[in-house]
């Protein structure tokens, strides 16, 4: 009897402590991620911000003058080479986002709807479409670099059809088309799998009810599938936008930034400035600006596309 009372009392105490004060358990739960976040995101971010205030060469600690905001102001000085390079690469990046995000999302929805049907070999095709995603960017880009050569398979196929060949990797806009095709082939499996998972969560009863009401498959897609997918699509679009903004490996390998630097993306530019030229401070300033722009873009995306679920 007394022990039961004591137990009840101690339970009450614990509950009171939990209500009133500090409970370490939740923090322990997030600790592993927090550690990784701190080590691999927070610390590099703040160190990058610090770096951007110096003329910074990590191999020459003896020569590392503080330059204040010079690295930033130079990016907004139209006469400066850094500004010309940075904003040209920014335009290239935006171009790629515009041409690559729609196919990466639309084809992924299309593929996911197809793969969600019941048919023989369904799992095999799910694997086939996801398989390229497991390749490294180097492997994927080299494959397509090779296919898009002047005498490559793509041109040989086109010529066999009597269509003539293109200079895929060294003319505009063909270079963007080639890079986009390579990227879609390589990464679409990821988007497809996410959307497929969301499709499987849509209750079958909605489709059954619509079918009873005589809705055509197209109407069911527009009025059930797409609205139900909306939250996941916001996520997929966000991820795809960010991934496209980080484009680097494909132009690095397929076009070397050409023709005439037109596929030199902003990450490519940061790499050139920081690693190739040893101007880490200037490169860090570029990174900070890009990070800011991407944060705003992500927030806008969630604000406008993520909204209607509460309506």
């Amino acid at each position: 009897m007394t022990s039961e009372v004591a137990a009840a009392k101690s339970l009450a105490t614990v509950a009171a402590v939990q209500r009133r004060g500090f409970n370490i358990a939740p923090y322990l739960f997030i600790l592993p991620h927090l550690l990784f976040f701190a080590a691999f995101l927070a610390w590099p971010f703040f160190f990058g911000a610090y770096t951007s205030l110096f003329q910074f060469d990590f191999l020459r600690p003896e020569n590392r003058p503080f330059v204040g905001l010079d690295n930033y102001t130079r990016l907004f000085d139209p006469a400066a080479i850094q500004a010309a390079n940075f904003w040209r690469s920014m335009r290239a990046t935006v171009t790629f986002m515009i041409v690559s995000v729609p196919p990466l999302v639309i084809f992924a929805v299309f593929l996911a709807v197809l793969l969600n049907n019941r048919f023989g070999g369904r799992n095999f095709f799910r694997m086939v479409f996801f398989a390229p995603y497991t390749l490294s960017v180097t492997a994927a880009a080299v494959i397509w670099w090779w296919l898009f050569q002047n005498q490559g398979l793509v041109n040989q196929a086109l010529r066999a059809l009597g269509l003539g060949g293109e200079q895929w990797l060294s003319s505009m806009p063909e270079a963007w088309i080639a890079i986009t095709i390579a990227t879609v082939w390589w990464t679409i499996g990821f988007n497809t799998v996410i959307i497929l998972a969301a499709l499987q969560e849509i209750p079958a009863s909605l489709y059954e009810a619509a079918a009873i009401d005589g809705a055509s498959p197209a109407r069911r897609f527009w009025h059930i599938t797409l609205p139900m997918l909306r939250p996941v699509l916001v996520l997929v679009i966000t991820i795809t936008l960010l991934a496209s903004a980080n484009l680097f490996g494909q132009p690095y390998i397929m076009t070397a930034g050409g023709p005439t630097q037109q596929t030199e993306t902003v990450i490519f530019q940061i790499y050139n400035e920081g690693i190739r030229r040893g101007q880490m401070g200037s490169a860090a300033a570029m990174s900070i600006i890009v990070a800011g722009i991407l944060l705003v873009l992500t927030a806008l995306n969630f604000k406008f596309f993520g909204k209607s679920e509460t309506e």
Binding site: D57, R60, W145, S170, T187, P231, I239
Partner: protein
């Protein structure tokens, strides 16, 4: 619905991790050649067994080149080393990732097996070697003992503390510098210190199709560069015979042609001290006009990365291609391929070039001495390296009659390149300022027809280039080494 949304956030976190690991912006390496070397130190005999000198390969080099006065003994097996070099191990990186890398590995293995001091040299071909060196230098004990560097990178590597000067003792083991090609030797010096010793000279080669030349009644060129008249007559005759006379591409191909022709016409891409971009001169306009006409009149206009301009030549569709010497080993397998110096279209001969040089990361006297022994042996065995597609920096090997049989392609270009090679002054970051930030985009914009005003295109890029040169001077100090 709310629930799905929360799930989405969780997935975003996971996805962000996945993407950061392998998204489109993930880490890359260049798709060039083998990434690692098969050479290891295992199985390399050290101790008494290694003193059995002269393996089968060594006897091949006892021509005049090998008997010259680098080592007191005058034969390859007679390199003399101080005792301090005994049993040292040298890991040596290089940007040689093609077939020439395999050849370098074989030479390093042979030296390790043959030398009497138990010195071991293992060669590691390293793609994107500058980035690899830079990142290795950022952490302790990651750098190898030595690296074969491109001569144009010496100043930058030196100013960033990645390579260390050679000691006089080690240089004494290498031998007499007057036996080495003069310009590459001079370019291995920066700020009064000796940072690298030249192994070879690379220069552009004019590859031609013997069968097409015969069919068009064009006499094959010799080791003397063609005159402008001979070159243009040949192009016309080849065109008339119904083949594509010459294949001219963009990027490296057009940039090296530009850098060669501008000097041939009497100009230069940069001032002697490397502080002023001068490629927008009248000679620059003349050179670019000439290349543009070559490409428009004769080419099908290959362009892009990966040397696509060589492909029509390999496929026997184009009669001539002017390119780097690293294509020699592949192209030499075709009987139809001939080798010649590039034509002289201006009033003097000049050809774009580079040089592979041995630089050291270690200041340890024992390592330095061992590196001296290796270099001495390598220079005396330069004919083997010539066979891999490089012109020996070692003059006795360059002038050795055996060169013609051992490396016909190299023998054809060695005499002209020995004198006319153009290597940029030794200034940190100069190649970056002049190429990607300088004339390369202008040359390509003109060749691809994106711009037509050659003077304006060069002016724009010269201004950009000058900014980068000035920024580099401010960052690295304006310590341009005294250019010869």
């Amino acid at each position: 619905m709310k629930k799905t949304y929360g799930g989405a956030w969780a997935m975003l976190a996971v996805a962000a991790l996945v993407l950061s690991a392998c998204g489109p912006g993930g880490a890359t390496t260049r798709p060039s050649g083998p990434a690692t070397s098969p050479t290891g130190t295992a199985g390399t005999p050290t101790g008494p067994a290694a003193t059995a000198t002269a393996g089968p390969g060594a006897t091949a080099t006892t021509g005049p080149g090998a008997t010259a006065t680098m080592g007191p003994g005058g034969s390859p097996s007679a390199v003399t080393c101080p005792d301090s070099a005994r049993d040292q191990t040298i890991e040596m990186w290089s940007p040689l990732t093609g077939p020439d890398g395999d050849e370098m590995s074989a030479l390093a293995q042979r030296f390790s097996a043959e030398n009497e001091w138990g010195i071991t040299v293992s060669h590691v071909p390293t793609p994107d070697y500058l980035v690899a060196l830079t990142t290795a230098a950022a952490s302790p004990d990651q750098l190898p003992e030595a690296t074969i560097v491109r001569v144009i990178n010496v100043a930058e590597l030196a100013v960033r503390n990645i390579i260390k000067p050679w000691t006089d003792e080690a240089l004494g083991i290498v031998g007499d510098p007057s036996q080495l090609a003069q310009l590459p030797w001079e370019r291995g010096e920066y700020n009064g210190e000796r940072y690298s010793v030249p192994f070879d000279i690379s220069a552009l080669v004019m590859y031609y199709n013997k069968d097409m030349f015969a069919a068009a009644n064009v006499a094959e060129p010799g080791t003397e560069p063609w005159t402008r008249q001979e070159f243009e007559d040949a192009l016309t005759a080849l065109d008339d015979s119904g083949v594509q006379a010459i294949s001219v591409g963009t990027l490296f191909n057009s940039a090296t042609l530009f850098q060669s022709f501008i000097v041939q016409f009497g100009g230069s891409v940069v001032s002697e001290d490397g502080t002023t971009a001068t490629f927008n001169s009248a000679e620059g306009v003349e050179a670019l006009t000439y290349i543009k006409n070559l490409r428009d009149a004769h080419g099908t206009g290959a362009s892009g990365t990966g040397d696509p301009e060589v492909q029509p030549f390999t496929a026997e569709q184009a009669a001539i291609v002017i390119h780097g010497p690293w294509h020699i080993s592949n192209l030499a397998q075709n009987d139809f391929v001939g080798f010649a110096p590039i034509p002289q279209v201006g009033e003097q001969f000049a050809v774009w070039g580079g040089s592979h040089q041995l630089a050291l990361h270690s200041e340890d006297p024992a390592i330095q001495a061992a590196a001296g022994c290796w270099t001495s042996w390598f220079l005396q065995n330069s004919l083997d390296w010539a066979a891999a597609g490089q012109i020996p920096a070692y003059t006795p090997a360059r002038e050795n009659p055996e060169l013609a049989t051992r490396a016909p392609g190299i023998a054809a270009i060695a005499p002209s390149a020995g004198e006319g090679v153009v290597v940029l002054p030794q200034v940190p970051g100069l190649e970056g300022a002049l190429w990607p930030q300088g004339f390369e985009p202008a040359v390509d914009r003109i060749l691809l027809g994106e711009e037509t005003d050659i003077q304006a295109a060069l002016d724009t890029q010269a201004a950009a280039s000058q900014q980068v040169i000035d920024q580099n001077a401010q960052q690295f100090g304006s310590g341009a080494s005294p250019a010869p």
